[in-house]
Symmetry: C2
Subunit: 473 residues, 2 copies
């Protein structure tokens, strides 16, 4: 039985395609506790590649990795009013430990601002100790009623960066640096285009003055908030008493940022790039970039394939061989397609005789025969080309599905006909945003232009900002 | 004020030295919830180096990294009777999620056998699916009454490897492979000698048939169980129904192993190598291997130092410069000693003039002047020498503090006079072990020889095994 036949068309019920491909491609499985997910080796290898891409950039900025505890005393979480209000409905709470009822319940971290800033407050003395810049790769828990593998799970993995600075402009620069870094990773590793901009008052992080976001359009026409970066102002510094003596010897509150990217990003990667035949992974995040599939398990053929895989690995590509002798050639080819391996090499007696390989690009199905003496260079180049093609396709999809609406009627018509991104002039207003959400299920995704001149698409008043709206995950 | 003056002598109250150096060297801090620990960047960087050392070995063996959920339904944990009995007193329990009382309480994983094997059971069909070999780097929680940073904390970080095999001999080989890998890491990265052997019935892992351990002697004369590797037999396979169709088409239970090394290892690293002046890190696990300390913050001197640090980094060493202009030369030298940086380079006007550096080995205080034109090679070689010297010192300490006792009186006398390891002939017997523990606080650490011939040191009966006993952490 071919795996492919089990996969419903992506153009049909997308949610059905998504939950099926995640299992078929061995990315994840459901955990026994409600809303939890097992990240299987193939899915976790993608996460490791994301970590390998981000960690050097984070460290080069001078941000240091650290680890803060999983458990936050409830009283700490309650110190910042907006923050606890935002997270209260999603908390998992430990009430018993070591066989006894705890005096104070412990919250399983939904994010680590409060536990980290409690320490920042203890550690910070003078302006010389600033900036404090720390990052951690960890698990967080946010209780979810409706879950979907990777995209929305009660526990997920992420990195969370947290910084404290002497002045607001430094913190604002840091917030922007983090989003630039994320945008670089999304465009050049995920091959996922998106809009960068500020969140509205209703959509921003609980406790932030401003939130920058990367919003990427999924094939459902819904936006995925792919990561965020927050200017926390002094909202945490004040209740947590994060103060320092400045150069003049005066006590001052620090200015802070936090920023995170999670395993949710893998959900976007799957949704955006996959097709009716399975995953299509961009080469930079593909655990296996090239798979060699011999037609038959004949010793001479296998030897040829093994020499080839060594050669490709030595050239720095992630190459592997699939020579399982209990699966047919067709089944193994199909498996490679389902797993979204960027380049599939088919090798039979003709290829062996003529010292060549037949290479198929997973992304667009293009096949060519490549002579063995140029194979490593040719395929390295091909991986770069595939990476570029996938980003280009993503950019074209975003452009094609971004429409402008000058008034609310046009907005509603576009929403009902196309979904996708809608670009509008708008004055951020929570009451108006609630009305739009109630009537269309769309919300503002981010503000992409400031200091421009237009007419608010709902109220008709003058507006100086351009926003992107969409339904979202 | 010099940090060093705050440090009590290591030869005095060791626990006092330990908790002080951990704070002075910026390795960790106490978390707000009882028994939790913050791993600060300097401590976490050591953990990252341990991960970088182990991950390639784990992957080369064919073990794949994955991630399983934090929360284990209580009913799953209860499936293996010995296992739940062993862990019950240490569990942290989530009773509320998303604002509601949960129908079934969730256990915060103390280890992941039960949650992983629930999935292994689902995934495993045929002998062709075996071996299953997975590893995860994660956090676990074991409620502890008495805690100590790194050595015993309610939450800690570790890796846990879990495998399933067709036959017992394969599982036993895997158990041994894991312990060989750990011993390699301990000896060649931690520079920590130790005994490898099997645990007694009383000391082995709850749910294992046999447990292999690495036992390293700390300066207190107490042993640290540095990591373990378990042969789980079919103890979990049976209650979790982990079965496969074998080559003959018959259903069979799988044979399993699990093995782990945790942040506890960093506690051993600190305790074993430190001295009255602070940490002494082995070069392979030192986040900074060479620190350059300019005497004064003069521009010409700083330029000289920065060129040098570049040169050393390009030669593949982890080199840094400490040119803080608000701290005296003496303070910065002292800080480097407290932090245990293996090589400290002092650079003043004489060094600048004569194109040389003054290099001090942290381990033994040896100083020499090295000409600038051979510096990179010389220091790389010196780092290797320090690594070897530290292992040799650890081996000598273990040998010197391993004493033989032929009967229980001699055992008690050695215990009271020296602590340390005591080598005895012994027949593993839980009742006898309890008596020894009650009377001397020592327990068996591991069985180091089998198939030998001697007299049981307690009962006087013939014994074929040699064991190591000691007090332990």
């Amino acid at each position: 039985m071919s795996n492919k036949k089990l996969l419903p068309p992506k153009t049909g019920d997308l949610a059905d395609w998504y939950t099926t491909i995640i299992q078929l491609a061995d990315l994840s499985d459901y955990g026994p506790a409600k809303g939890t997910m097992i990240i299987k080796p193939y899915g976790y290898a993608i996460w490791e590649l994301i970590q390998e891409a981000m960690n050097p950039l984070i460290k080069a900025k001078g941000v240091q990795n650290a680890y803060f505890p999983l458990f936050i005393p409830m009283s700490l979480l309650e110190k910042e009013a907006n923050h606890v209000e935002g997270f209260a409905p999603e908390l998992a709470i430990v009430t018993h430990g070591g066989g006894e009822k705890l005096e104070e319940p412990l919250v399983v971290r939904p994010t680590s601002e409060t536990i980290m800033y409690n320490s920042f407050s203890k550690w910070l003395q003078s302006w010389r100790d600033l900036p404090i810049m720390m990052n951690q790769w960890n698990n967080v828990v946010r209780w979810e009623k409706r879950t979907m593998p990777f995209l929305r799970t009660s526990e997920f993995l992420w990195q969370e960066g947290h910084t404290a600075h002497v002045a607001h402009d430094e913190a604002a620069d840091m917030q922007k640096w983090a989003m630039d870094m994320y945008a670089h990773i999304y465009r050049n590793f995920f091959a996922l285009d998106g809009y960068v901009g500020y969140k509205s008052a209703s959509e921003r992080f609980a406790g932030a003055d401003t939130t920058l976001t990367y919003e990427s359009l999924m094939p459902s026409g819904k936006a995925l908030q792919a990561c965020t970066s927050h200017d926390l102002g002094q909202n945490f510094a004040k209740p947590f008493n994060i103060t320092f003596q400045d150069k003049e010897g005066v006590d001052a509150f620090a200015w802070q940022t936090s920023w995170g990217l999670s395993t949710r990003s893998i959900g976007g990667l799957i949704l955006a790039h996959g097709d009716d035949n399975g995953l299509r992974l961009p080469p930079k995040l593909a655990p296996t970039q090239i798979v060699i599939v011999p037609v038959r398990p004949e010793p001479e053929l296998i030897t040829y394939c093994k020499e080839l895989v060594n050669q490709l690995q030595q050239a720095g590509t992630r190459a592997a061989i699939d020579d399982r002798d209990d699966e047919s050639f067709g089944f193994r080819l199909n498996k490679a397609e389902v797993k979204g391996i960027p380049i599939i090499l088919k090798i039979g007696s003709k290829e062996l005789e003529q010292k060549l390989v037949t290479a198929k690009r997973r992304f667009d199905g293009y096949e060519e025969q490549i002579s063995l003496d140029v194979i490593a260079n040719k395929l390295s180049q091909s991986l770069d080309e595939i990476q570029a093609m996938m980003l280009k396709a993503s950019q074209e999809y975003t452009t094609k599905n971004t429409r402008e609406a000058s008034d609310y009627d046009e907005f509603k018509r576009i929403q009902s006909e196309h979904k996708g991104f809608i670009k509008v002039y708008w004055n951020d207003n929570a009451a108006v945003e609630k009305q739009i959400k109630d009537e269309t299920t769309a919300t503002s995704r981010c503000m992409i232009e400031d200091g421009v001149s237009g007419t608010d698409f709902v109220t008709g008043e003058p507006a100086t900002q351009q926003w992107i709206f969409a339904q979202s995950y």
